[in-house]
Symmetry: C2
Subunit: 251 residues, 2 copies
DNA sequence: CGCCTGGTTATTATCGACAATTGCCAAGTC
DNA sequence: GACTTGGCAATTGTCGATAATAACCAGGCG
């Protein structure tokens, strides 16, 4: 039975899991996934580079099996492509695809999940979000971009988790790393960190108010803002921002 | 090197692959994936059911390794959930998530990919799409719903392939099985098959005309139509269809 | 002189066995 | 009598080795 859905012992299990960590986190596969994802996102592996299972297995001191499973997971995040009998290769993300697909998909996911989450959010979760925003504000002061990104990701993930939608969360986890990869590619420096923190403060306030009218617009703004800022700083000006929301009048 | 991106021998490789099959298709993992996916989509495995690697390994006459990799792939399609050290369990898809996330995400993907595909579509591809629609029309005559669904999937997949966007295709392949699962769950019978074929004929005509103004609306209609028909027949009337495109005025 | 053909090697895919983890159950203790 | 604690059984996770696959290269043939 899936943890948390047990017949009678749910409480005991939930306690056990809570006492430990949210995730078992240990598992060679998971460790490999995390290491490789970070390497790809930060650009240590260039697009097109082949990842060889035996080489990585030796490098990490594990057998090929967990490496191969890690490959499948990374493929689900779109960070690598798998060609049967040929290997896995680091995927490229074009600015067009970023704007045309990844952001609209993220928008679709959060437009559904965030208002849903706001309507049923526990005080504990709100407090945790508050802590995350504070941590972002502090990291902005000290100029720690990596930390801000980490809190940013966690903020959104926790919010979407609260919506309780398995599929919204699964899809978000699939697109999120690709979006983060773009952030590292397009704006590795000179981001206005204070603005990022402020944006999340604004979103958190909207979550607290839980105004069904205001929230969808707040999410949309939040996502569009972060994207356009990113692109401006990188001097990438695509022909048009074709978010579904903006496409109504242009058709 | 990824097939199709070779340094000099591209032609030879492409020929070789074309002579054989589009996919190597053989691979125990792939076979297991296809079998399990079909079993889940058609409801042979109920939501919540645990898939055990050793049991399936024996059943299929393979070792646990390809089964485990198949699990990872099915998880990327949202058909199963993986709980480390606990197993994989068939995922449930609520009607709310179907309408709220899966369809909007599909809409976002196709809104980007289909116009892009239309703008650069080869005559061969158009001919293949034409064949698919004809096959659908024939299957509609003979009342073969399974065949229609198969052609339906292939029609959209081929279209999105033509767009040449790795990520649009990857995401589509991730959401598509879930949507198909809903089709089987909500409307296993009594679908108006002729209408489905006609819808695709209309979409194909729009693709042929490649009218940048008309196409986005045609896609939107196509997706919304299929969804609302599906829901009407199953007597499921959600509170509202919250597609991003329709949310502009409501905020 | 170019094309086909067979061996060679690098790499992936699969295997079967073993180790680790987890939940369960029963015995023991306060 | 309820709670803790230890062992038991079922299941997943990992291993190291082997088999299968496909690109590369050299030699032979038209």
């Amino acid at each position: 039975m899936p943890p948390g859905q047990h017949t009678s012992q749910t409480g005991r299990l939930a306690d056990k899991r809570a006492v430990k960590r949210p995730l078992p986190a240990s598992s060679r596969r998971q460790q490999v996934v995390d290491l490789l994802r970070e390497a790809i996102i930060t650009g240590q592996f260039a697009a097109g580079h082949q990842l060889k299972q035996d080489q990585l297995a030796e490098e990490f001191g594990v057998s090929p099996a967990p490496i191969r499973e890690a490959f499948r997971h990374l493929a689900s995040e779109g960070l690598v492509e798998h060609f049967p009998n040929h290997g896995v290769f680091v995927t490229d993300v074009s600015a067009e695809e970023f704007l045309g697909v990844l952001l609209p998909v993220r928008m679709a996911i959060e437009s559904y999940a965030v208002p849903l989450a706001a309507s049923q959010m526990s005080d504990e979760t709100l407090a945790e979000l508050e802590r995350l925003v504070q941590a972002m504000e502090e990291s902005a002061e000290s100029g720690d971009l990596a930390a801000i990104n980490e809190y940013d990701v966690r903020f959104h993930e926790l919010t979407i988790e609260s919506a309780g939608s398995v599929h919204a969360l699964q899809l978000w986890r699939s697109v999120q790393p690709r979006i983060r990869a773009q952030i590292y590619r397009l704006s590795p420096r000179h981001q206005n960190l204070t603005e990022i923190a402020a944006e999340h403060r604004k979103l958190l306030d909207a979550l607290k108010r839980n105004d069904a009218n205001e929230l969808p617009q707040a999410i949309e703004e939040h996502i569009v803002e972060s994207a356009t800022k990113l692109l401006k700083r990188a001097d990438v000006r695509p022909h048009r921002l074709s978010f579904p929301q903006e496409a109504t009048g242009t058709a």
